[in-house]
């Protein structure tokens, strides 16, 4: 099973060049049943990545470009009156899909953001008192410009918490850049990609993630990471229990991608940055990356006493 997933990673890599690590993280995030936030400047290939992921897993997907004039109903759907049948029926919004690309989510108003994030968490939507569950699986891949950009509404921390991971792509290397310039349009390539994995297989790997063995020693390590984030004073606020669960889930997914049926501390260390960086604020200033590195360096992997 893991082999098929690895093939998916390879397929995406052939479109999004030179970003293997980020792609693996994104796939890990998906099979860990997590939502993904891609944060970067415009034009770095965020959307391409999202498209490629949707294609490769042959997911039913929709794309929504968020704007500041968007209303919650534009995402969730709306009840409309059908004059012929003389009754209301729900016109489902774009959220009723397996993979939702929420482009530039921080351009929308907090209200709209809130509506989406609630749907992400509950995996269901309530309209006019009627609750409808979202399809299974359901992923949101949101992209976001760095908050310094004009005309944006930064996501509040409580909502950032709903994304399992945040990754950023960064500038391509010189070599990749050359390759990009020489090749055809990447987004078109992404849109014409062949699926590598069926939905069933994706679901199956999601089930497998849960069976990846996390030994008590490893759980202990994660617990000490959590405790240190709360007690060390490195951060203004420590990691939430939800973050801890997410970290374990992401580490499991990462281990599965590596072809293992057990989690090692390396798996935790790899996913710690993407899982926690957007939830932590370093108390001594400095970027979130350096804070998480500090966290990793100060917590012993194996208990000393």
């Amino acid at each position: 099973m893991a082999v098929a997933i690895v093939r998916a990673v390879e397929a995406v890599s052939s479109v999004v060049l030179g970003k293997e690590e980020q792609i693996r993280l994104a796939v890990a995030c998906m099979i860990a049943r997590g939502h993904l936030l891609i944060e970067d400047l415009p034009g770095m290939g965020k959307t391409t990545l999202a498209h490629a992921l949707a294609k490769v897993f042959s997911l039913d997907y929709r794309r929504v470009q968020f704007t500041s004039d968007m209303l919650p109903a534009d995402i969730l759907g709306v009840s409309v009156f059908d004059p012929e049948r003389r009754e209301f029926h729900l016109r489902q919004g774009p959220v009723f899909t397996q993979l939702l690309l929420a482009d530039e989510i921080n351009r929308a108003t907090p209200k709209t953001q809130g509506a989406l994030l609630e749907a992400m968490e509950e995996r269901q939507v309530t309209l006019d008192g009627e609750t409808r569950t979202l399809p299974e699986p359901f992923f949101v891949i949101a992209t976001q410009n760095p908050i310094t950009q004009a005309g944006t509404f930064p996501l509040p921390e409580s909502q950032l918490d709903r994304f399992l991971m945040r990754i950023s792509l960064g500038y391509p290397s010189a070599e990749t850049e050359r390759e990009l310039l020489a090749g055809s349009d990447r987004r078109d390539q992404a849109l014409s990609m062949k699926p590598v994995l069926g939905v069933a297989e994706l679901m199956q790997s999601m089930a497998q993630v849960e069976k990846v063995h996390a030994s008590p020693d490893l759980i202990d390590y994660i617990q000490r990471l959590m405790a240190h984030s709360r007690n060390s004073g490195l951060f203004t606020a420590g990691l939430s229990p939800r973050a801890g669960l997410g970290l374990l889930r992401a580490a499991r997914a990462w281990a599965l991608l590596a072809g293992n049926d057990y989690v090692t501390p390396e798996d935790v260390q790899v996913v710690l940055g993407p899982v926690t960086a957007h939830r932590l604020q370093g108390s001594a200033g400095g970027g979130p990356e350096s804070s998480t590195r500090q966290l990793l360096e100060s917590v012993p992997v194996v208990r000393r006493h």
Binding site: Y262, L296, V299, V302
Partner: protein
Amino acid sequence: MARLYQVPHHAFMWLLLAVLMATLPHLMRAPGWMMVVVPVLLCWRFLVQRGRLRMPGKIIRATLMVVAVLATLYSYGTLLGPEAGVALLVVAFALKTLEMFRLRDAYVVIILACFVLATTFLFNRDPLTTVYVGVVLVLVMAALVGINHAQSGASSWGHLRLGGALVLQALPLMMVLFVLVPRFPPLWNMQLNPERARTGMSDSMAPGEISNLSRSAEPAFRVEFEGEVPPPALRYWRGLTYSWFDGRRWSQAAPQHTARLEYVRFPDEATPPWYASLLSARGEPEWRYRVIMERTGRQWLYALSVPFTDKSGVGVARDKRLVSRFEIDSTFDYRVESYRFPVAVEGLEEWERQLNVSLPSSGNLRTRRLAEQWHQEAGSDRAFIDRLLRWFNEEPFFYTLEPPLLAEDTVDDFIFRSRRGFCEHYSSAFAFMLRAAGIPARIVAGYQGGELNRLGNHLMVRQYDAHVWVEAWLPAQGWVEFDPTAAVAPSRVEFGLDQALSDFGEQAGGFGANLRRNPLFSRLSHMTDYMDFVWSKWVLGYNQDSQFEILSRLLGQVNPQRIAVALVLAGGGVVLLVLGWVLWRSRTPGLSWWQKEHGRMLRLLNNRGVPLTQGTSPQGMVDAVAVSYPSAARLLQDWQRCYEHMAYRRPGQDPELLRRQLVLLRRKAAVAMRGAPRLMDKEA
């Protein structure tokens, strides 16, 4: 017998060691054949475990048992009695180890080991033996833990640790029980060893016997004084008197037709007149003390004149000494009050007078004549005695541990020829001369002196303090003690045997005595003596009386209810304390062995200068070593894989195997890194 029970290999060594050590003290006392047979049987068992030999069949085992019974019968002449019984038990026990076919048998071996171990105390009671027994019990418990832990991966040292912890945790409760559980008198009388060796003073004395005893430094008894300690010159410990002389040997004697009550009276008996007069003449006691006596196998006890005690089973004899109703078979302690009577309070019965002037009808004629002559010249008994003592003092008499052998007329030969003798020679000659002059006289046997131990403020009296002196009946004063040896060698009384002998250019028995003169050794021996004293007094001598004493001090009043309450409270308290300690210990989880092993590896790498942070994962360690010590990288990688198996993978691999591999790989890595130069990481 479908499948033989195999003692788990991690428990077997403890089991065998426990069996061997439990039998060892018995083997040291046992007849020669046992010292061969038992180790051979245990070796056999060892080889069985190793798969080199098979367990013996039924017939061989039965034969061996029969042979063992016969051999025991041959060696001891009986199968009953503690010595033979224990010997048989030990052999049967060793044989039983060759009959472990089921788990049950292993259990039986363990319980037998406890039993054999306990019987050690029938024969040895010193602190060292006790510690030894404790250690072996730990091994027995380790073996028991082992056979209850069937998994193959268990660790032997873990068993030993747990066994030790169990015994240690049980100790406080044991002490509570020891102090509080009421002591009963024996349920039925068990004579331990009817023909056991007797030590100390014997009931008769011939020349050379006391000097023999004086070569031994074994403790005889210890005395703990309440209040003042008498000066050396007054430390005459009376044991018994010898009234009958056959020309060579002095013996304890009483005329045939006197009733026992005429000369010994036990506590619960009617009061004979002589005892009544002694009782009525008592004033304030001169000395109060407690004697803790080693076992002697004899009935007489030692005390200063004139002793009274309220110890049950101990009577007072007419010749002013204490007598036990039974032979002293174990450490025995009794409190004594000694009184001084300035005048004769007890009369001299006619039979007593006759006994104490009697002499053999013939022999030693020169001495008899000399005595009669001097007695006439002196005019009074007292003057005669003084002259004799002066004479001993002035004539060239020598005090020696090695007197020459005496001819048939021992007294004549001693006085007129050899003039070299020990206390028995002087006392014998002195008493003989008094009797020859018609003065009732007898020899008192006991100990003189004793070394004061400042640590315990007690006197230690050893066998080499053995002494005999003389007492004579003077009508006005009653029985008066004289010490002719003191006349010859005054330092014997003041400073002890060593000093007295060296005054005469002689040294007491070789190495031991030399050591005794070394101040460091004497300090050390004072300490061990003190320990022995405490041991005898509080452990061996803790009996109904001392228990009553302590309990009344602790509880105010001794009755079953109070003892029960105290037992429950103290026992419960101790158990709760141990419980609390155990719970507190296990509150914070200890490191598992692989976590400790990881710590060791981390220290090793740190010592070798491999750059690591707190958060370096095992994989990170491998990477760092690959940069610094490429030659050790492979080992580290294997190590990391084993570690991962133990710490992060689903359980599956044999933990013991992994553990051994981890340790081995770490050691190899240490060796590999020792030789190699460290390469610096470019970034570091």
